[in-house]
């Protein structure tokens, strides 16, 4: 394994930055991707989010550290593309705990993820129904 593989990218460096409200961010995403692509992505993400969170919960209760890591990583990446930076950041925390083999500390984060998801969901619905 090359050193790059163990290198963990971090958006936690921006931990203390307060992100702009989620609606605003999604609007920015819409600007850079165009309404069509944005709508497609929102639809996909609305279906994907709950599934992925449920899977994450399941893996966590199963104690499957590797699954936790992968699922958290994926949700982290997808969240970033839609503009859900806060959600992405929370996912990364879980990913890191999994990487460190400390998933027993993760449930608190998962609760935060669920709360954040509710907000993202609301915002997505709002943006998706503009036109």
């Amino acid at each position: 394994m090359s050193p790059t593989d163990t290198f963990m990218p971090s958006i936690l460096a921006t931990d203390n930055i307060s992100y702009p409200p989620i609606e605003q961010r999604i609007k920015q995403v819409e600007k850079i991707m165009g309404p069509e692509m944005t709508r497609m992505l929102i639809q996909q993400f609305q279906a994907y989010g709950p599934q992925q969170i449920a899977a994450l919960q399941q893996s966590l209760s199963d104690g499957d550290t590797e699954s936790v890591r992968q699922q958290a990583h994926q949700l982290k990446g997808e969240s970033l593309q839609i503009g859900a930076n806060q959600l992405s950041s929370l996912c990364e925390k879980v990913e890191r705990l999994a990487q460190q083999g400390k998933i027993e500390e993760a449930p608190a984060n998962l609760a935060q993820i669920e709360t954040e998801w509710a907000q993202v969901q609301a915002a997505l619905t709002q943006v998706g129904s503009y036109d």
Partner: protein, 696 residues
């Protein structure tokens, strides 16, 4: 990448983002394949070689940066653009991505407009780069293919590049020479002074001038092999006209130069002997004549003609003649080189067996000494030749030299040469006195005289009374041998009414103009006719001797004609004795032997004339069926007082007796000689004291 659809590989572990990117790229008209981690990306690349990869940095299994680095290690990926997709504000990742060989990066969330433009731009750049590489490759192939050596330098005159031809000529490869000063790689020597030659590269670099150099020699790095080269150097300028280096183009002209030198040499030299040829000799003479003559500076011209060359050529063939000329050329050159210190000499073959020597800054005395030395050198030389039948011949040749001191009054090279030629004729014709110095009055008429002789001989040959015969008695010293009259037939030519001259005056002209066979036949015919008309003389006759020239013996028809003439008469052939000189016998040995053998069968007799005058060899004498030896007059004259001559005559006589050859002493001009000859038992005597020649 021309008209084919561009294929892009999208690599991301997040399915939504991956789908989004795929969708977008399809919309832009690209063909898209996807992979969900770095490992898959590598495998896909190896199999399908996409034109571009768009890859997430942060992936499980094998992250994007590592995958990028691995792909970039593959040679076929050298020019593959890889765009990395990174999360916002991942500063360190950006650096790592570039370090891994990524072409560019784009941040998440991906701005599709930016992505579209970036891909378009990168592909365009890749296209341009490939076109440029194609061009570069073409240029390099071109440089490798051309016959010229090409070296380029940077703006400081340091070597940048050598094409294969330049490598071959200098011994330096592009790699080895890169960065070295031009003078270290391009070793040039001035052809004229053999000094190292600094190529004026600064003239190119600073002044921007085109520099062209000739007459230099390039040295090879290792074996110091030399190449004659011609070269040009031109500054290389960039688009703004700034000089950024020099291109040096050169080619090997060794062969061309050699050829030029060969041609120049051939134009001025004689192919056979390697001496200068006639045109060059005349050109130098002309140049000399055009230079104003300074006080106390003298020049001289020698015109040299080989004696007896024709005999060698005629009897042994041209091959022998050529070899003789080569030998003589060498001998002359060697002798001249040894002789001259201050003067400058031009030795040339003027044609046939004629040589010319132009002596600049040479006094008349030195020239004369030189001429004598040359004569001596050629006289002492013996030419040996074996023919196909392994018959060996030894020739003594001689040299006749006409010497002309050059004065300012002589303006025409041709007339100087003609004077020298005339002087040479005199040298040759007046008893083979080796050197004759030209004197205004006499010589000019000599060449004309020669022609006059020839005309006279030819006229007389056609006339009945043009020639007449004299005879001089040959007297036996022993009484018991007195079995009849003996005499030598002598030729006289009528030059005016009742005025006859002896052959000494005209024989050389007759010889030079190939009239000897005709003259000899005339004599034989006259003798045969006379004998038939005078049977009482024939009855009393023991033998009469008739002189034959070597030139007649070399004449292919002469023998047959003479044989027929004799056989068509009733004259007993043993009464006819042919005299052939010793020199002729030695130099024309084969012809003489053939002739003697053939006429011996008929019954004729033979005498060897002037025996002892040259380098007589008793061994060769043994092989010739001769009946008489005529001891040369120069040995007889004064032999009573000269012990050496006395001993020589004695020896000749003694050996002749042993070989059963009779001896005839010529030029017996007083009683003392006669008595002495009687004493040593010479068989016959002949001479003015005995009896003068009288008309037949």
């Amino acid at each position: 990448m021309t008209n084919r659809q561009v294929r892009i590989l999208v690599v991301d572990d997040a399915p939504l983002t991956r789908g989004l990117l795929e969708q977008a790229l399809l919309t832009y008209g690209y063909a898209v394949e996807t992979a969900s981690n770095g490992q898959q990306a590598i495998e896909y690349f190896i199999k399908h070689h996409p034109d571009l990869i768009l890859m997430d940095t942060d992936m499980p299994i094998l992250n994007g940066v590592a995958a990028c680095a691995r792909i970039k290690e593959l040679p076929e990926a050298q020019r593959l653009p890889i765009i990395m997709v990174t999360a916002l504000m991942e500063g360190e990742w950006v650096d790592r991505a570039y370090a891994a060989g990524a072409t560019d990066y784009i941040s998440k969330p991906v701005n599709l407009d930016v992505l579209r433009n970036r891909i378009h731009y990168i592909l365009q750049a890749k296209h341009a780069e490939e076109a440029l590489l194609d061009e570069k490759e073409k240029a390099q192939v071109t440089l490798a293919s051309i016959g010229d050596g090409v070296i380029t330098t940077d703006a400081n005159g340091r070597v940048d590049f050598l094409n294969p031809n330049a490598t071959q000529l200098t011994g330096w490869t592009s790699q080895e020479a890169k960065g070295l000063p031009l003078s270290q790689v391009f070793l040039v020597i001035d052809e004229k002074n053999q000094q190292p030659f600094e190529f004026p590269i600064q003239q190119c670099l600073v002044e921007g001038q085109l520099v062209e150099i000739q007459n230099t020699v390039l040295l090879h790095r290792d074996d110091k092999k030399r190449f004659a080269i011609e070269k040009k150097a031109a500054p290389i300028k960039d688009r703004n006209g700034e000089i950024i280096g020099v291109v040096l183009v050169f080619h090997d002209v060794t062969e061309t130069r050699k050829m030029t030198q060969t041609l120049a040499y051939k134009a001025t030299h004689d192919a056979l002997t390697g001496l200068y040829n006639r045109p060059e000799f005349q050109a130098r003479l002309k140049r000399l004549l055009q230079t104003p003559l300074e006080e106390n500076i003298e020049h001289a011209l020698l015109y040299m003609d080989l004696n007896l060359f024709k005999i060698v050529n005629d009897t042994c063939g041209h091959e022998a003649g050529d070899q003789l000329l080569k030998d003589v050329a060498l001998l002359l050159q060697k002798n001249i080189d040894q002789f001259l210190q201050t003067a400058s000499a031009t030795l040339a073959r003027l044609g046939g067996d004629e040589f010319g020597l132009l002596l600049e800054n040479c006094s008349k005395k030195t020239a004369l000494d030189m001429a004598k030395s040359l004569c001596e050198c050629i006289e002492n030389y013996r030419f040996f030749w074996s023919n196909e039948k392994r018959q060996k011949n030894v020739f003594t040749i001689g040299l006749s030299i006409g010497l002309v001191p050059i004065s300012t009054l002589m303006l025409n090279p041709k007339s100087v040469l003609a004077m020298a030629d005339a002087a040479c004729y005199i040298a040759k014709n007046t008893g083979r006195r080796c050197v004759h110095v030209y004197q205004d009055s006499e010589e000019a008429t000599w060449a004309n005289k020669d022609i006059q002789w020839v005309n006279l001989i030819q006229e007389n040959l056609e006339k009945d009374q043009g020639f007449c015969l004299f005879c001089q008695p040959i007297v036996p010293l022993q009484a018991e041998k007195n079995v009849g009259e003996c005499y030598e037939i002598l030729l006289r030519m009528a030059v005016a009414q009742n005025h006859l001259i002896s052959p000494g005056a005209f024989l050389s002209a007759a010889t030079r103009h190939h009239l000897m066979p005709s003259l000899d036949r005339q004599v034989i015919n006259k003798v045969l006719t006379w004998l038939e008309k005078n049977p009482h003389h024939l009855e009393k006759l023991n033998f009469m001797t008739i002189n034959l020239s070597g030139y007649s013996l070399s004449d292919p028809n002469f023998l047959e004609t003479v044989k027929n003439d004799i056989e068509n008469t009733s004259i007993p052939p043993q009464k006819l004795c042919f005299e052939i000189t010793e020199t002729t016998a030695l130099t024309n040995f084969t012809d003489v032997l053939n002739f003697m053998t053939a006429l011996k069968k008929v019954g004729c007799r033979f005498a060897l004339d002037n025996f002892g005058s040259g380098m007589a060899s008793f061994i060769s004498l043994k092989n010739l069926p001769v009946d008489f030896l005529k001891i040369d007059g120069t040995l007889i004259k004064g032999f009573t007082d000269d012990r050496v001559k006395n001993a020589t005559v004695n020896a000749i006589n003694h050996i002749a007796q042993i070989m059963s050859i009779q001896t005839i002493a010529e030029k017996v001009e007083n009683q003392a000689t006669f008595e002495k000859l009687t004493e040593i038992n010479v068989d016959y005597v002949q001479g003015y004291w005995i009896a003068e020649p009288k008309p037949l």
